[in-house]
Amino acid sequence: MSVIHEGLYKGDKQNQRGVNVKKIDKSVADAYFREKTRNMIIYFIVWFIVSFGAVMIAEPLSEISIGGFPFHYFMGAQGAVVTFIILLFVNAKLSDGIDKKYGIDEEKNVKLSEGKSLDH
């Protein structure tokens, strides 16, 4: 645990170590968490439909053809994978937006994380 954590709990604004921390409304932090969780639930619903969902209805899907592929084969070989990639980039981008909205500064995060793990 870094120094910041020990110092953090001991006082408001300026603690005895001189670290500048302030208490924020719990509801603000909860709103941050809720927004991210809501997005994540949406991603997982899409994830489930394109993978498990498409497999479950593979037989009827095989009647449809797309670009020469039977549709169920297309989903397994390409459709699902491309959807996964898009979801990951959408998440990365939207999460950046949420961080910004709540005043999170990435440079400060970098400093806070230093030395907490292996630096390969």
């Binding site: 670290v19 968490f33 037989e59 994978v81 990639i85 990365a92 793990s117 390969h120």
Partner: protein, 556 residues
């Protein structure tokens, strides 16, 4: 010694020289930069490094062959091994990054505040990585066996020496850039033959678009031969097996110690999200190409090789028959090789196809170098996971807390050598195809780490008794099911050994939840540390309140 041997060997040696050069350059640089903190690798390159770490002999050598032989049913590997990145990147990687530990057993030991849990996690790490490495050694045996035109068993022995040396004396520090180079080599080596085959068969340079019509065409050929269509779903197993295998591979992805550790090396939670996204993009390049590789290989085998006279088979058949992985037997004695008389192992399709399609010595050599890059980079990561689980988590944290760094390093190296030799011994007579062996490792990860990590990060009530029960039950159920299904013929809903993770994960989650609820809750401090993982680094949860750090000056 023929030209092919010389060209392949030169390309392999040249790429090895490149990896060693990068490693030496970075180690030297690192010593001079020793006191400069935070040289974060940009997420895009970290994504490539994760890709190289992740894509093993199973992805490179085994997967296209598995899809070729299983048809649609083989696509469970494609969706499973990519879909798991969502579980990993959304539910675990950023949170574990914020918690900040050196190894996965260390997270489990500290989060659950239990030495017993730490040791069980370390042993699970060793079992999982060990199983996984059997697949890598078996893969290097195929490559080396073909190169020297010797039995794959002898090739495996050479691979053991190579991988033990590589992992024990290199690859400890500054490996990220070496892995970036390995990714670039392996993706080029994979894409070139696919694109060449696409040009040859469909005269399109975009295999991803052009192989669709081939899939349909092969269905017609199959109907003429009276066998089930290539793309027909669930011909090699039940629908439940497909779903169970896909789940196992996804959950296993989110629970593999050597992959999770890569996310400890990114700078922040945000970097973890972006690294995960880039990693899947780079991995996706190969995974989108594997079914195309499979389709072209099968089409070429069906139309150019099957139907030719046994006495006039091209030279490549002999070299592959020598490795023991290809059989061409004229079963009905008519002097013609029928499709059903050609028995090809999953594991040689990728390696043999460039020869079959006559793509030239350079491409064949490149594919061999790419396969070695895939096997080496992953084996390196696996061996480091094994050695850190033993030397750091068991030997240092539990057995000898005052061991010197030098002793620990020697213990780490010794554990690598022993693990590689032992895995090599099993790989001499591999208990399954490469993809199958690797799928067992994923089943074990989904039965042990996946539940322990998900509940550890997202459920503050989960305690040490719960996680110990969960990991032991998950390990026992997964191992039990793999053996019962593979050797005892026992199956539920047609789910075979490779789908065992679905039972392991379910049993482990149930055991963890039930035992946790029946025993006292973890300390207030641990529960707050768990809630703290919901927020970014700048927010800290303490005593029911959230604090925002605006300076980020931690050294005062």
């Amino acid at each position: 010694m023929d030209t092919q041997f010389l060209v392949s060997l030169s390309i392999i040696l040249a790429t090895f020289g490149l990896y060693i050069g990068i490693a030496i350059y970075n180690t030297a640089k690192q010593t001079s930069d020793f006191y400069v903190a935070s040289r974060g690798v940009p997420p895009i390159f970290n994504g490539m490094a994760i890709g190289a770490d992740w894509m093993s002999a199973a992805s490179f050598i085994g997967m296209a062959g598995t899809i070729m032989l299983l048809g649609y049913d083989g696509l469970a590997y494609i969706m499973g091994w990519t879909g798991g990145y969502l579980l990993l990147t959304f539910l675990l990687a950023p949170q574990l990054r914020k918690y900040g530990r050196y190894t996965v057993p260390e997270f489990i030991g500290d989060r659950y505040n239990s030495h017993t849990a730490r040791v069980i996690a370390a042993i699970s790490t060793i079992i999982i990585s060990f199983t996984y490495s059997i697949g890598q050694l078996s893969g290097s045996g195929v490559v080396i066996g073909r190169l020297f035109e010797i039995d794959a068993k002898l090739g495996t022995m050479i691979g053991v020496v190579l991988i033990a040396t590589y992992a024990a004396f290199g690859g400890m520090k500054g490996i990220t850039w070496t892995q970036v180079a390995q990714y670039i080599i392996l993706i080029i080596a994979y894409l070139i033959p696919v694109i060449f085959m696409s040009l040859q068969v469909t005269s399109s340079a975009l295999p991803w678009l052009s192989y669709g019509e081939l899939v349909g065409k092969m269905g017609e050929l199959d109907r003429e031969l009276g066998i089930s269509e290539y793309f027909a779903p669930f011909t090699n197993g039940t629908k439940w097996q497909f779903l169970a295998l896909m789940f196992t591979l996804m959950a296993g992805t989110a629970g593999l110690p050597h992959v999770i550790v890569r996310f400890y090396t990114v700078s922040t939670m945000k970097a973890a999200r972006w690294s995960g996204a880039w990693a899947l993009l780079f991995i996706g390049l190969l995974y989108l190409s594997a079914p195309a590789y499979a389709a072209f290989s099968r089409f070429i085998l069906m139309t150019k090789v099957a139907g030719s006279k046994i006495s006039e088979l091209p030279a490549w058949t002999k070299t592959w028959v020598d490795t023991g992985k290809l059989q061409v037997a004229d079963g009905n004695g008519d002097g013609v090789l029928q499709w059903s008389e050609l028995i090809i192992s999953n594991d040689i399709v990728v390696m043999a196809t460039p020869e079959i399609a006559n793509l030239g010595v350079f491409v064949i050599g490149l594919v061999a170098a790419g396969a070695m890059a895939a096997a080496l980079s992953t084996a390196g990561g696996l061996m480091i996971a094994i050695s850190s689980a033993f030397a750091h988590d068991i030997y240092y944290r539990v057995m000898k807390p005052n061991a010197t760094e030098k002793t620990r390093l020697n213990v780490a190296r010794l554990s690598i050598v022993i693990a590689t030799l032992f895995a090599g011994l099993i790989a001499l007579d591999p208990p399954g195809a490469i993809t199958q062996i690797v799928a067992w490792a994923f089943a074990l990860a989904s039965g042990t780490f996946f539940p322990a990590l998900i509940l550890g990060v997202w459920w503050k009530r989960s305690n040490s008794q719960g996680v110990i029960a969960g990991m032991l039950v998950g390990l026992a159920v997964t191992l039990g099911y793999i053996f019962a299904a593979k050797y005892g013929g026992f199956t539920i809903l047609g789910i075979i050994d490779t789908g065992a993770g679905v039972f392991g994960a379910t049993a482990a989650i149930l055991a963890n939840v039930i035992v946790s609820l029946a025993t006292p809750a973890p300390s207030q401090k641990i529960q707050e540390e768990v809630l703290d993982l919901r927020y970014p680094e700048q927010m800290t949860y303490k005593n029911g309140e959230v604090w925002m750090n605006d300076d980020a000056t931690k050294s005062v």
